[in-house]
């Protein structure tokens, strides 16, 4: 049933007074059960967040950069935690380097209204963590953007089921 609920609403709830009742009716259960299961899934962190998702470009947040830093491995944890604290940062990952080709190991996606603001933010951030070796890769075109976490109808399993 968890999977049925997620399949039914992962692309969005209907914009009506009682959205969970509408979903419940489709599934032949009570709205209370939908809500309880969603809360449980949120508690288990299967659902990272529930709510409105905004198309940032449409509200003027058009400066979007992927910033990559070359961080000494013993400082990755500390620097990663520090960078992740800022609300301008939506994603932060450590990734493998590629010998002789790519030395950057810490990635953050950063958003702002203007490129200049993002550049200034990154300059200050990098100064604070004392990492001088970094690149700011502004996106010039968005080709694909969808959720990576979609329950696929063909799988029908959740981890831990």
């Amino acid at each position: 049933m968890d999977i049925d609920i997620l399949l039914a609403l992962q692309d969005g709830i209907p914009i009506v007074k009682e959205p969970f009742t509408a979903i419940a009716e489709r599934l032949g259960i009570e709205s209370g059960e939908v809500i309880e299961r969603l809360k449980k899934l949120q508690g288990e962190k299967v659902i990272r967040r529930f709510g409105v998702f905004v198309r940032n470009r449409k509200v003027g947040i058009i400066a979007n950069a992927m910033v990559v830093w070359a961080v000494p491995s013993h400082r990755i944890q500390e620097v990663g935690n520090f960078i992740s604290k800022f609300k301008e940062v939506t994603h932060c990952y450590q990734r493998q380097t590629i010998l002789g080709k790519w030395k950057y190991n810490l990635y953050a996606v950063i958003h702002g209204f203007k490129r200049e603001t993002v550049r200034e933010f990154v300059r200050k951030l990098s100064e604070e963590v004392e990492i001088k070796d970094y690149l700011i890769l502004f996106s010039t075109k968005e080709f694909i953007r969808r959720s990576s976490g979609r329950v696929r109808a063909k799988d029908r399993t959740l981890v831990g089921d």
Binding site: I13, L38, G51, T90, H91, C92, Y93, Q94, S148
Partner: protein, 158 residues
Amino acid sequence: MEANGRLDGMDKRLLQLAQDEFPLTDQPWLSIGNRLGITEREVLKRIGVLCKKGIIRKVGPALDARRIGLKASTLIAMKVPEERIRKVAKLLSEYEEVSHCYQRKHDYNLWFTVTARDEMELEKILEEIKRGVDIAENDLLDLRPIKMFKIDVRFQLA
């Protein structure tokens, strides 16, 4: 919303609250309205307009890919000749496993993420993509994740 299509103060507060603290209750818009001092009807009207204008992508859950069984992922960077970039992006968009794809200002100018059930499925998709896009191995970086520090896609509007 203002006549010129810009968000007014109430839209901003509404979007902020509905990003940050969406209530899982029978009438979520009613409690959001109560907190903002407007009626459920007005909330629904505003949300409807924001959806229609494409400002709201969706109202729903963001799922943790790993916790729903998609355990392998990577970020690929490629050097694609400018004149081929659209074609390559179009090919990538046909894979539901490719979730994000951006052109960026760098020699590695096309960046995309791939998410799959497991290592085997990921490799299979990558092999297929590599054959399809015809980019030399040397012009490609396969940047596997080691640690996720943060994913929280919310925007500060109010």
